[in-house]
């Protein structure tokens, strides 16, 4: 049996662990993390499937990861597991004050029913000139991560609460390491190109809201969830502050009420902060870590920024493929 250690229990760590455990029966998978749901960055995210741009990752890869994730979640939406997994369809509008240069982004053929908003549809958003109307998926991590943990255990995987400060902690007990530690990779993988983009959100009670509304500039968004509506947001680069900022809260609430006036009647249930683990390109590759006389492959899968949930399954599949290749490399079929 190949012992695989997955570092990190956010959406990336758990989905990668599940993918490995379910598709490579010879692997014994253990997830090691300091934080589990509901304390991960993924738990704060609204979980709307809408890709986040990676300036230095080829577009065809980004589209592939997004499509793999969308298709995977769509089949869950239409199954009896949907409620437990926290996955459901959500329709809505992305509106722009200035007409964007790309009216037809690469993901427009992945989401459902994508089309330009009609004049009648735009009338409800007087400050906006252009809009896109489509149906996408919301994947609520407070439920999804629990469901993934269950799936992992059913596939024989294990979960341990343990903070990993160096890969050398793992080289003697594990054959392959999969690094899904998000922002933690700044220290763990000594990657200074990784930085936080601080996001604050409000969760409000507004059960009459059935559509998402997002300002194309990414700074204001309304994402209805199962039991609350997420209002956002902020995108503060290199800001490590985890406590709630009241000026950010009022700013978010005001901007969202402008987009959707009925929100003035909503009650705020909670305020949360998450640090998006941002990088110019996603790091999804194998590296060899040498410790003593051991050479252990590490598959890195981090730097998803604000697009973790949107591409998680696609990157989990690719990481799993790298794990398979590492096993083959370690145990090549004997030529004797």
């Amino acid at each position: 049996q190949d012992k695989v250690a997955v570092v990190g229990a956010g959406v990336i760590g758990l989905s990668t662990a599940v993918c490995i455990a379910e598709s490579i029966p010879s692997c014994a998978v253990t997830v090691l993390a300091e934080h589990f749901t509901p304390d991960t960055t993924s738990d704060v995210a609204a979980g709307i499937l809408l890709p986040h741009p990676f300036p230095e990752t080829p577009l065809h890869k980004q589209r592939c990861w997004f499509k793999d994730t969308f298709d995977h979640l769509l089949s869950i939406c239409n199954s009896t597991d949907a409620a437990e997994a926290g996955v459901f369809l959500l329709s809505g509008w992305q509106v722009f004050q200035e007409t964007p240069s790309t009216k037809d982004p690469y993901w427009s053929t992945v989401v459902l029913g994508f089309h330009m908003m009609t004049d009648a549809e735009l009338q409800r958003f007087p400050k906006y000139k252009f809009g896109q109307s489509f149906t996408t998926i919301k994947c609520e991590c407070s439920k999804y991560l629990l469901w993934l943990e269950k799936r992992l255990k059913n596939a024989g995987g294990q979960l341990h609460t343990e903070k990993i400060t160096g890969f050398e902690q793992l080289t003697s007990s594990y054959d392959i390491i999969v690094n899904c530690s998000g922002l933690g990779s700044r220290d763990l993988a000594d990657d200074q190109s990784l930085y936080p983009v601080r996001g604050q959100i409000l969760r409000v009670h507004a059960p009459w809201l059935k559509h998402f509304i997002r300002d194309g500039n990414g700074h204001t968004y309304i994402f209805p969830g199962i039991h609350s509506v997420t209002l956002g947001g902020t995108r503060q680069k290199h800001n490590w502050e985890m406590s709630v900022d009241e000026a950010d809260s009022s700013g978010i609430f005001e901007r969202c009420c402008e987009l959707e006036p009925s929100l003035k009647k909503s009650q705020v249930c909670s305020k949360l902060v998450g640090l998006r683990p941002t990088r110019n390109s996603l790091r999804l590759e194998r590296e060899f870590f040498v410790h003593g006389n051991r050479q252990v492959p590490i598959i890195h899968n981090y730097g998803h920024g604000g697009g973790g949930i949107s591409i998680h399954w696609g990157t989990a599949l690719e990481a799993t493929q790298l794990v398979k290749e590492s096993i083959n490399w370690r145990n090549p079929t004997s030529k004797l």
């Binding site: 949907a82 029913g113 549809e121």
Partner: protein
């Protein structure tokens, strides 16, 4: 001038409000009293899910299409107003599914973003659009608050006229036949389940031309629960829930949306749609005893009461205006 409105569902209350708003400054005094044995939350309007969606075919009834449109436009104009949530108005998108391609409906340009489904979306034919919800349980109390009428226990035509009522607004819905026999009016009985499934954010209505209107499963999420239905029994006066209908609704609903399977069923409710070949919206002069009384009939909206109510209220107000002209031809209205 004394007006008696009979019926406190969405038709009665909105007609009363419309007439009051248009004429209270022109006719003084104008007293409007609502008489009913049932008011919110126990009316047919309260039980309805509140989806704005006319029938697929208007049968060439241009008037009803006009009333539908007037209602939609009116509700849409209120969507960003401070009262919208209290009134129970909000937008919702969703799907109308068919077993075979259907001609586009008369209301395709009334709703927002109407389009055909793409092959990725459903393996059957259908449409997608954004429409409005108008929930009776919120709307009726809002109308009652705005109402300058007093709502009281039942009163019949003879005693109305004893007190010198000038105009009667007959908004009695399915039981209009008790006041004046109407062979065209019949109950369209329907049972629904209310389910706790807050992850559902779209309405889904299915239509089977062979089984008729409302005989096919539908799922309509609301602000407090999800309505699951699909029963239409013409001529059935029973308001009791029955387990056979419950089973059918649940099985078909789960087939339509598999995620429902693990949802908690909150309760059942049965209501009688006031079905008529066309809405009765007209006026007549009735001889009651030794008095003449003007009656405006506004009933028979079937499963489209909420969808059509405001257009009908405007028309009822027009008919009221004609009555005023008749009574005081020299007056400027």
């Amino acid at each position: 001038m004394r007006v008696a409105v009979i019926g406190a569902g969405v038709i009665g209350l909105s007609s009363a409000l419309c007439i009051h708003d248009r004429y209270h400054s022109k006719v003084t005094p104008l007293s409007i009293d609502v008489y009913t044995d049932r008011f919110t939350p126990l009316t047919t309007s309260d039980g309805a899910a509140g989806l704005w969606q006319p029938y697929l075919h208007d049968n060439g009834n241009m008037q009803e299409t006009k009333w539908n449109k007037e209602t939609f436009d009116y509700l849409l104009s209120l969507i960003n107003s401070p009262d919208s949530i209290q009134m129970g108005i909000f937008t919702q998108s969703g799907y109308s599914l068919f077993t075979e391609p259907m001609p586009e409906p008369s209301w395709k340009d009334i709703v927002l973003g109407f389009r055909h489904l793409t092959p990725q979306e459903m393996k059957i034919c259908g449409w997608f659009n954004t429409t409005l919800m108008i929930e009776g349980k919120s709307y009726l109390p809002w109308l009652m608050d705005r109402s300058v009428c007093t709502v009281s226990s039942p009163s019949f035509l003879p005693s109305c006229t004893k007190h010198g009522v000038d105009v009667i607004l007959n908004c009695t819905g399915v039981r209009a036949g008790e006041l004046q026999p109407d062979p065209l009016l019949t109950p369209g009985q329907g049972q629904i389940l209310r389910v706790d499934a807050p992850w559902l954010k779209h309405f889904i209505t299915t239509h089977n031309p062979k089984s008729g209107k409302y005989c096919s499963a539908y799922i309509i999420p609301g602000s407090r629960s999800v309505t699951v239905g699909g029963i239409f029994q013409a001529g059935n006066w029973s308001e009791a829930n029955n387990s056979e209908d419950h089973r059918q609704i649940w099985e078909e609903g789960c087939r339509l949306a598999p995620s429902l399977k693990n949802a908690r069923i909150m309760d059942d409710w049965t209501g009688l749609r006031p079905v008529r070949s066309s809405v009765r919206l007209d006026s007549e002069t009735l001889q009651l005893g030794n008095k003449q009384c003007e009656v405006i009939h506004n009933y028979g909206h079937g499963g489209c009461g909420l969808t059509m109510h405001w257009g009908c209220a405007l028309e009822a107000a027009n008919l009221f205006g004609k009555i005023l002209k008749k009574k005081r031809p020299s007056h400027f209205w």
